[in-house]
């Protein structure tokens, strides 16, 4: 008549929560919710090996050239160029309605650009979300769109769908190849959950996960498709300072896997401390592109992006405050 | 020689057109209920066809058990009384249905209300079969209008019964009245507001529950009127009439663009014509006329689910 707590079944929860912490000066209440933890290094290394993403090429892998998107009389995007290199993190910022999400949808095949084109490793991007994913571009959604009544593990396994080949006949027969494929997928799911720090929730339904963990699960699910490019749509929306920090660590770790990342964010501080390069979209046009420091100091950004007296906002930007008030709290804490 | 062959063909064609229009306006009346309910709460009220059936039995019961024979056989008394009685019975059932079956599921996933609607449909049909005396077989229904017909002298003659004309006229008048009601009155505006956004409507001081009840009541009453007219035209009613005509009406509502009153009428007329002409001219004859309607239904749902009238003029955004 033994009673072993299920959560402790071979999970390293206790270990990671203590030694992975990198935050400083956080309130105890917030800490109780989420500890900031970078993915364990050995997991990252194993995953990088499994995923085989980095090719060492110097050519840009994702290129958008002259992408223009017209909805009736409304021009949502005009002539947007972007080139993403391997292992790069690019940030995309801009005020509401600047066309960030539209641009994302062009990159992921949900929209077909009115003119211009998107290429992945020199090939035209397919115009169908499923094929885009197959080609190696994965995304997360601004409003979390997990499969709410599937467990965390099952969510990640769905992400493996595109890399598995077992059809109905093979599923019916449950032969050795099927089992091997399932076992591999399960193993990968386990690693991915460990990577994003959700091992303890692996058998929990996605809908029961805390908000921040749902976002992490969405990232794990996207990574399960072995993407060479990961597009994150507002990955820290609604997160507190600790969760935001954890997400930053996670995205760095994802870059270390060899995945190139494009992030849409409102939180400029987050973008400036995360990205190698930042693109500013205003009214569908690419206003500025450059390193975080360049962008941060650019008066045009200050003026056009914020539409406020330049001096004030400039000061805010310099301190890394959030543009639209979403993250002013953590701006001060630094 | 040629002309002699042509005119009977023409008269057959015109007769079928007339039949189609009569059936079509009947279907249009039922379709109004579908389209309004769907417009307001996006529910396919499967049981709406049964409301139509119940209305017909309500009218018949009034004629058979309540009215003195002298009145029941005098058309200018019997017709309005039966129509009102059918409308009231149907309306009560529709409102009760909304209150007890659908309202508790207002926020449930979409499968639940649809299955509930199926259940209500089966239950209503069976309740009528079990509890209405003699309903296990088709029951005779008196003609409630002037006997006789207009005969248009083409070929063998195109016969349109007066009661058929009544049916067409009443449908058009009621549909027109309904449209005016929705467009012009305060309650109508409340309905349109509720269909656009229930929460916003609530903020504007509209009680969505009342609006929804009203929608069911109006749809039910129209179906009840349709039921009595159906009995009066075909001279017999049975408990299966609701399911079949309900599906036709649903098809009509979709065809016209669901949520669109004028569309429902046009859709109804098209369906009526498809059935009449399909039964006459398509392979298989009348045995397959139902099949053609279902084929139309599938084609419309697959290729033009927004209906002929598209997005414009919809009660619901």
């Amino acid at each position: 008549m033994s009673e072993n707590p299920q959560t402790a079944d071979g999970t390293p929860t206790d270990g990671t929560t203590t030694d992975g912490t990198t935050t400083d000066g956080t309130s105890a209440a917030a800490e109780a919710v989420v500890e900031v933890e970078a993915p364990p290094e050995e997991v990252t290394a194993e995953l990088a090996e499994d995923m085989h993403i980095a090719t060492g090429t110097r050519e840009p892998i994702l290129v958008s050239s002259g992408v223009t998107m017209q909805f009736g009389g409304l021009r949502a995007l005009s002539d947007v160029n972007l080139s993403l290199h391997e292992g790069e993190i690019i940030g995309l910022i801009g005020p509401n309605g600047a066309g960030k999400t539209t641009f994302f949808n062009c990159l992921t095949g949900l929209y077909t650009p009115t003119s211009g084109q998107v290429t992945l490793r020199g090939r035209a991007m397919p115009q169908d979300p499923a094929r885009v994913t197959e080609a190696g571009v994965a995304r997360t959604f601004q409003n979390i769109r997990l499969f709410p009544s599937m467990t965390a593990t099952e969510n990640v396994l769905v992400g493996r769908h595109v890399r598995m080949k077992q059809g109905p006949i093979s599923s019916l027969l449950h032969g050795p190849r099927f089992r091997r494929s399932e076992a591999e997928a399960a193993e990968r799911a386990e690693k991915l959950l460990a990577f994003v720090g959700l091992t303890r929730f692996s058998d929990e339904l996605a809908r029961n996960l805390p908000y921040g963990d749902q976002r992490r699960l969405e990232i794990a699910r996207a990574l399960a498709t072995d993407p060479s490019v990961l597009l994150l749509d507002e990955p820290t929306a609604g997160m507190n300072a600790q969760e935001t920090e954890a997400t930053r660590q996670l995205i760095f770790a994802i870059r270390d896997l060899g995945v190139s990342v494009v992030v849409i964010e409102h939180d400029t501080k987050f973008i400036f401390t995360l990205c190698d390069r930042v693109l500013v979209l205003v009214q569908g046009e690419l206003l500025v592109e450059g390193s975080p420091d360049e962008v941060r100091g650019d008066p045009r950004v200050v003026e056009a992006y914020l539409g406020a007296p330049p001096e004030e906002v400039s000061a805010q930007l310099q301190t890394g405050g959030a543009a639209d008030g979403a993250g002013t709290a953590e701006g001060k804490s630094e | 020689m040629h002309a002699v062959e042509e005119t009977p063909r023409l008269s057959t064609f015109l007769s079928q057109i007339a039949n189609g229009l009569v059936l079509g306006s009947l279907i249009a009346l039922i379709a109004l209920g579908y389209t309004m309910v769907y417009g307001i709460i996006t529910l396919i009220n499967f049981a709406h066809g049964e409301i139509f059936m119940v209305g017909a039995y309500g009218g018949l019961a009034t004629l058979t058990y309540i009215l003195p024979t002298a009145i029941a056989t005098t058309w200018y008394f019997a017709l309005p009384i039966a129509l009102v009685a059918g409308a009231i019975v149907a309306m009560l059932i529709a409102v009760a249905m909304e209150r007890f079956a659908y309202r508790p599921l207002r926020n449930a996933p979409r499968l639940a209300p649809l299955i509930t609607a199926l259940g209500v449909s089966v239950a209503l049909q069976e309740a009528m079969r079990v509890f209405y005396p003699g309903a296990t077989a088709a029951l005779p229904f008196p003609n409630l209008f002037i006997e006789g017909a207009v005969v248009i002298p083409i070929g063998d003659g195109v016969v349109i019964r007066y009661v058929g004309i009544l049916l067409i006229v009443m449908s058009l008048v009621l549909a027109f009245g309904l449209e005016r009601f929705v467009e012009r009155t305060r309650l109508g505006r409340a309905m349109r507001a509720t269909s656009q956004d229930r929460d916003v409507a609530r903020l504007m001081g509209i009680d969505p529950d009342r609006v929804i009840v009203l929608t069911f009541a109006i749809g039910g009453a129209l179906a009840g009127v349709a039921g009595v007219l159906y009995g009066s035209y075909l001279n017999n009613i049975n408990i299966d009439m609701g399911f079949q005509n309900g599906i036709f009406a649903f098809t009509a509502a979709v065809l016209g663009g669901i949520g669109n009153i004028r569309g429902a009428v046009v859709g109804g007329l098209v369906i009526g014509l498809v059935k009449a002409l399909g039964g006459q001219y398509l392979p298989g004859g009348t045995a397959y006329d139902y099949v053609w309607i279902f084929v139309v239904l599938i084609i419309v749902l697959v290729f033009r689910p927004q209906g002929f009238f598209g997005e414009s003029e919809r009660v619901r955004a």
Partner: protein
Amino acid sequence: MTTTATPETPATPAARPRHTGRFARLLDAAAPRSTVLMIVGGVLTLVGAYLPWVTFVLNEGPYPEKATLNFFVDPFGVTGFRLHLVILGLAAIVVAALRRIPARHRIVRGLGIGATVVALINGLWITVEGGGLGAITASEGTIAFGSIVALVGGLVTVLGASAGGLERKPVWTWTLPWWVEWILLVVLFVIVLLLVAAVLTSGGQGGVVNPYAGVVFLSLLAALGGAFAALNASGLLTWVSAVSERHRTFSVIVLLIVALLLPLTSAGTEYWMTVASNIGVYAATAIGLNIVVGLAGLLDLGYVAFLGIGAFVAANLSGAAASQIGIHLPFVLVMIISSVVAGMFGAIVGSPTLRVRGDYLAIVTLAFGEIFVRSAQNNIGGLTGGANAIPNIPAVGVGDFKFSDSVVIGSLRLPSGVLYYFLIVLLVAAVMLVFAHLKNSRLGRAWIAIREDEDAASAMGIRTGPIKILAFLIGAMLAGLAGAFFAHKTAVVAYDSFRFLESVTLLAAVILGGMGTIPGAVLGASILFVLPEKLREFSDYRLLLFGLALVLIMRFRPQGIVPDRHRKAELTDPDVEDVAKEGPGPLPTRVEP
């Protein structure tokens, strides 16, 4: 494995639970004396069982005899519903008295509900058939308050249990030596077999033969339901299912063998074999439908057409005189062809899913179903016999040996129809296997993902179109398979068997049992096809009750009897956002037993 994951903390004994809802005040008042109430309720149930129930002697026969005053002639021979009440009452007293039993209140509540329903059913039946309340109270010098006392007893039990505060279901994690668990499983499965046989045969065949069949059957069902609820509340069922999960292959084999042994029980007559075979046909079809509706989330309202297509194809290839095609193929081949043809039609019916979603898709499938019925009714291409049906389909057989014959092995004589029963058991088992294997594969996950969020699924690289059509195709193939069997077993195939109402019934079977689960579909099919068999005296009201039941299920238990962990959320009110924002979600928790 089930883990209890309710967000609220369990009520501590010190702080009595505050009740909410309609009966809050009553429950609060009863709370301090809950144990006493439970015991009193149990005692009343016992007393009620031993009191006379009717004031007059019903007609002859085993059941009514026991239901009259004659009962006291033989006070220890308690049978029928009285036995059920005695057992439920005693169990309630014992459990209520033993404070150390975990989830005591919840268990007792299950028992109490069972007793209440048993008392209610019999009391109502006697009242209705016996000509009024006099039949269960006092009239003509005799008194018979048994049903009322038992009913009060049951209600008091439920009141006491509810007032005491319902605990969370405990989770047991015992592990026994493997051979002990094996023996345990075998014993349990045999018990299940005997119960199934008892339920199936209880009250006899019904109809004119035995007017009490319905009420005897319902009593047994209610009593078993109460016992089942109590066992479930105790957490033992969950534990047993965990044990059988540990020995999955073994369990499956034993279950299959046990199912094949049904002809050796009291249900081993030709009549019950036929009933069981029919249940099997609908269970197999319901499992196929479960792929489409339960897994992929696509509502199909014309599904029975595939059963019909399978049946008509088989009928035409059977060598029946009325068939259009004058060939007679071996049964196995016929099954394959029927299945493939039905599958092709499934793909056709499913193809609108590429463009149509939700309610509209349901209507499209309904339209296809109606087109099938109409065409079959009109004897399309001479293939369906129209109103004359296709009669005299020969039985499956090899040479002179027919499947419809009875089987004699040594001194054991099995009833005729037993071979068909064996065949359908194997068929259902195969269909279950297909369902289970597909559900736990890349394909099954893709279906569920599509059901949950189609856009997100396609963003995960799932080509939703072909995968949805595949759901229709496979579901239809399974139905076609069942159809081929159906044609040979019933020997007549008529369009009448495949009407809209049958589609709704199948859908109801899937929903009633629990969407997305195998036991659910089988259970649902069994209930929906046994009930009409048993309740012949209510046959007029059958469909009426069926319609009302659909409404009530959707209202009060939309997740069905055996809910799928996944599906539970789907049909109850999903509010992912709220759950998400409430902060840390509940971890898998357990309650100390």
